[in-house]
Symmetry: C2
Subunit: 232 residues, 2 copies
């Protein structure tokens, strides 16, 4: 008797609210999870620790952390020594591409996810991008995700051989931060494990003033859920 | 009086015959060249040296070498400890995807090129992929390149703002190795600078028996051009 195996999925995982919620959704859908995180620039060691906590929480089969040389390319407040904006209202953030935008970041992340999926024999990739909530990133839009999926199916052995159709799952695309938090809460996500600050203090305390902190607070407030201790 | 600047282009550069020819073509078209190479796995230090020689030869504005963690993902004879096939005839190579295929490699390479192009304000990316000559790689086909270009235009600030249309130039797509060599020779390429072996000896001598060496030899033979000393 052969035991039926769950299909494998690669889940991009930054240790933040969004990607942790996505991991819960992938788990709920019955996938065997392979989580993928990236170490790039100087600012994000705390993200990796949160991604590791989330990966343990959901008993992933493997958590792979890749080192990226994005700081050599530059062009972003997250990899360069540009100041992260502080104290902006959600209204201020609307309609513009923020300096925290990392050029082609999601394309690079998804490309690695695609490579790993191919090696694992997985056809499913999950990413926590979100087109609402004032994100303003070009690579967080539905058209972009659809175009990446089309490209991915031409880029891979499985695509050529027609044996496996790659699917890019972006279940948060049209959800508000409050809706995401409510959905994750219903799936049992412990948000105290997560971290989502662009400019944390050296001890891991959230700055409370960057766009990410402000959107996080707004999301929990609107969801009517307590944020818990999301300190590293 | 303002001096008219040449437009910038990012040229993917492995130090081999194809990418060195592409660099000559980009130069000929009047672009200011930014060459991009990748260090991945263990086998390719000699490639980087050849890429550096080609970049100097064409007086690029900058040669950027990024370190990739592809060996952690595995799945290829170029990054894993899988044997590189030896002594196959071009006929043997036909129609199958070789074990030297690196999963999603061109997608990862082009994604970094896209990120760098965005930072440089460049709209043009050159890559030496080739659909003929028994390559068998899924990510070397015209449909794939077109799909990447569509995706790239949705992934970037310039795409969102409609200010710059990203173009992926793949001028070798439909050329045979002999045609490539003749074209490069006409543009003054010194092929003795280049290197294209999957499994060189420690002193840089070509193995002469891998697919890449065999296709190189066939190309020079058919072009009626002497290969020169393409030792590192």
């Amino acid at each position: 008797m052969t035991q039926k195996q769950n299909p494998r999925a690669v889940v991009l995982c930054s240790g933040g609210v969004d990607s942790t919620t996505v991991m819960a959704m992938a788990k709920k859908q019955g996938f065997e999870i392979y989580s993928l995180s990236f170490r790039y620039g100087q600012r994000h060691e705390i993200e990796i620790a949160a991604a590791e906590r989330a990966s343990r929480f959901f008993s992933v089969s493997r958590h792979l952390v890749l080192n990226l040389d994005l700081d050599k390319i530059g062009g972003s407040a997250l990899t360069d020594v540009i100041d992260v904006p502080k104290g902006r209202s959600p209204k201020d953030m609307e309609g513009e591409i923020p300096v925290t935008y990392v050029p082609a970041r999601n394309t690079i992340f998804l490309s690695y996810a695609l490579a790993w999926a191919e090696v694992l024999g997985a056809a499913d990739i999950f990413i926590g991008v979100n087109a609402l909530d004032y994100s303003g990133y070009p690579d967080c839009r539905p058209d972009y995700i659809a175009a990446f999926e089309s490209m991915a199916n031409l880029a891979t052995k499985a695509g050529v051989e027609g044996t496996k159709k790659i699917k890019i799952h972006a279940p948060l695309l049209h959800m508000t931060k409050a809706e995401i938090i409510k959905a994750g809460f219903a799936l049992g996500v412990d948000y105290s494990l997560t971290h989502s600050c662009y400019d944390p203090l050296p001890d891991g305390t959230l700055c409370g003033e960057c766009d990410s902190c402000i959107l996080r607070k707004k999301g929990f407030d609107e969801a009517g859920i307590s944020d818990g201790a999301h300190k590293a």
